[in-house]
Subunit: 104 residues, 2 copies
């Protein structure tokens, strides 16, 4: 799959899950990857950015089957950012589809 297509979209995908409930990083990799392959090397830096921009806050939680997990919780700013990005994406993909179907 064309890697370039993913630019900017994987961010929305991750936010979409975080809008539902708190996730830890590894869990997000698996969840998103059910639909679109995303790498750990993509997710962790992305979550770090969210954290720096205060779109999420984080907390650690012990696991009984492995190392401790770092959970990410969407802030109000994060929810707003998600809504905005989602709107932009819808507009964008509509524009692309209109362009591609302009001959009909």
């Amino acid at each position: 799959m064309n890697t370039q297509f993913k630019k900017g979209i994987l961010e929305i995908c991750v936010l979409s899950y975080l809008a539902e409930k708190d996730y830890y990083g590894y869990e997000l990799v698996e969840a998103v990857s059910e639909h679109i392959k995303i790498s750990e090397g993509t997710v962790y830096p992305l979550l770090r950015r969210f954290s720096n921009d205060e779109l999420v806050n984080t907390y650690l939680k012990e696991s009984n089957s492995g190392p401790p997990r770092k959970y990410y919780h969407l802030t109000e700013a994060g929810k707003k950012y998600y809504d905005d990005q989602l709107n932009d994406w819808m507009e964008f993909s509509n524009s692309v589809n209109k362009l591609l179907r302009r001959k009909e």
Copy 2:
């Protein structure tokens, strides 16, 4: 509009026009920009790549209202590449939409 969204897609947009008829660079900027803003600094390097990969061939034609125009013509390889890219894009955007609507 989020610049990242455009990565890889503008290529398909340009190909979509070239699949119809021969265009010159400046004309492509205007045509695509009716739907999605694309810069000259994007189009010319992109067309250069197409040319290097032999997805297009080019010819010059005088204009009676300005400098000569460099036209781009899609090769057979270019058509195939366009079809493939279009398929990938459809698959990709379907996957994204499925992910975003998974809760319904």
